[in-house]
Symmetry: C2
Subunit: 305 residues, 2 copies
């Protein structure tokens, strides 16, 4: 048997992404021991029932003792508290990483609370489903997906390389970029689409009952795609919008301008503007197909986060 | 062999929906003769190459001669001209129907130009893909999908029943409602989602080149769903927005209000409002699953129009 990449890995939080990574690490023999910590006893019991690790802890400080890798998989709103809680028991030389969808704020919340000699390599696997919780995870979530790592200038390069090895070992393609750039790109490809999907589904939810029933009945025409996106984990997405506020508001401003222009074109009956815009947007779809993105449009693990 | 439902059927326009219906009618032996008419010689040649019918006509007036059923499958912007062009050769007792996505305007554009004794049964199969043209059609587009018929008070009930028989024979579930109600429901479930998808993809298209490349590369996180919707036929969608202007502007107004509230919540860091909204929208997804909509999220033929 191969030597595992990490002797001991601690997971703080074990939802969809954390439990998928734990499963994938077990499947590929990447961890000698997986210690799992959750805030809630109920979630911990579920993780144990699913046999996701070798030890289970309600105290994160205990889970991270002797861990070579600490993977923070909680909602981002808990990052600062988690970092503070593990400060005293982190092993010198340990690597701390995460899977959150906003990187500048992740670094800001975690880094000041890590002791010297501990390496932070923030990361974001672009994978997920609209389901959440430890039971929703699966070992094959990552193959064919990107995982973006956002080391900062002072991040130890060998620590970054080890986290990259981990993600590649579970099947992901790794890309490295700055935290701010990550947040801007994901603000467009993920956060704004989610915000819009949440909003339109909420708009429909406020319709009078009869119409709402029919919207549900005849949803197979665009709207249903939005409902799937808008079924994503509420706490995770709350934290994404709170933590990537500036990038989201900036791209939302552009979108709102463009929407106003479309509205005006419809009101004025500007056929030419509408047709030209709709023809132009087709090209982006072709670029994505040419870029050999996975084309079967929705598979588990492709669209959220 | 069974007697076909219609001795002679004329298709005016033979894009994705028209060619799918022609194929399905042939497969199920529903038409004695299929006459196909298109405005452009190139499309007609393609239809003939695909053997979608038994006769091919550049003159719609000629195609509809002796037809028991005339199915208008052109973009909606052409409806009035089509109706005028076939006025003189429509057979008394013939049924005229269509497949357009807006029903009040379809009736307004077609009905005044039909001779007495010809029955208009406007319809809308809620099926499609982002592909267009006669080669994109397939006989199995309709099973499991809704087709909404919008007869008016003076529509002959036996004509409506015959069109209903046709759609049921090709596998669709038929629902009958008023044109205005159809336009309002589809404005929410289909037209607004398409408008938003077109807009967000256009917003991304206007980004500086480097960011745009990365948006394409990392599109597997919400945005890609939007690009598929925004790859739909530009002329068809231009006509939908021009023809369903009032319903689209009305629901767009509500959406814009809701989006402004979300924006404010993000700006103010209102965690509670965001989480509550995101939790609420999950319920609509559950209702759709409970309503036994097709759940495999995207299959050919499920999402457009």
């Amino acid at each position: 048997m191969n030597t595992p990449l990490f002797n001991r890995v601690a997971f703080i939080g074990i939802g969809l992404i954390g439990s998928s990574l734990a499963r994938a690490m077990t499947k590929h023999g990447l961890a000698g021991h997986i210690a799992i910590s959750t805030r809630r006893a109920e979630t911990l019991a579920k993780a144990e029932e699913l046999a996701l690790g070798q030890s289970y802890h309600l105290d994160a400080a205990e889970a991270v003792k002797d861990a070579n890798l600490v993977m923070i998989c909680t909602p981002m709103g808990a990052y600062e508290a988690v970092a503070k809680s593990i400060h005293d028991t982190l092993m010198p030389g340990a690597i701390v990483s995460d899977v959150g969808s906003v990187k500048a704020s992740a670094i800001k919340d975690i880094k000041p609370h890590l002791p010297g000699g501990v390496h932070l390599v923030a990361g974001h696997p672009i994978a997920g489903t609209e389901h959440s919780g430890p039971e929703a995870g699966f070992a094959e979530l990552f193959p064919g997906h990107w995982c973006i790592l956002t080391p900062t200038e002072d991040t130890d390069t060998s620590a970054t390389a080890r986290v990259q090895d981990l993600w590649e070992a579970v099947g992901a393609n790794v890309e490295i970029m700055t935290p701010d750039h990550h947040d801007r790109v994901l603000g467009i490809t993920s956060h704004l689409p989610h915000l819009i999907a949440y909003t339109i589904v909420d708009t429909a939810d406020q319709l009078e009952d009869d119409t709402k029933k029919e919207v549900i009945k005849f949803s197979a025409s665009g709207f249903r795609d939005f409902t799937r996106i808008a079924a994503s984990d509420p706490v995770m997405w709350r934290d994404i919008f709170l933590n990537n506020r500036d990038a989201v508001l900036e791209i939302l401003g552009r979108f709102t301008e463009d929407l106003t222009a479309m509205k005006r074109a419809i009101r004025k009956g500007d056929a030419d503007m509408l047709e030209k815009t709709f023809a132009r947007t087709r090209e982006i779809r072709r670029s994505i197909i040419d870029a050999k993105q996975h084309i079967p449009d929705v598979k588990p693990g492709e669209d959220n986060s």
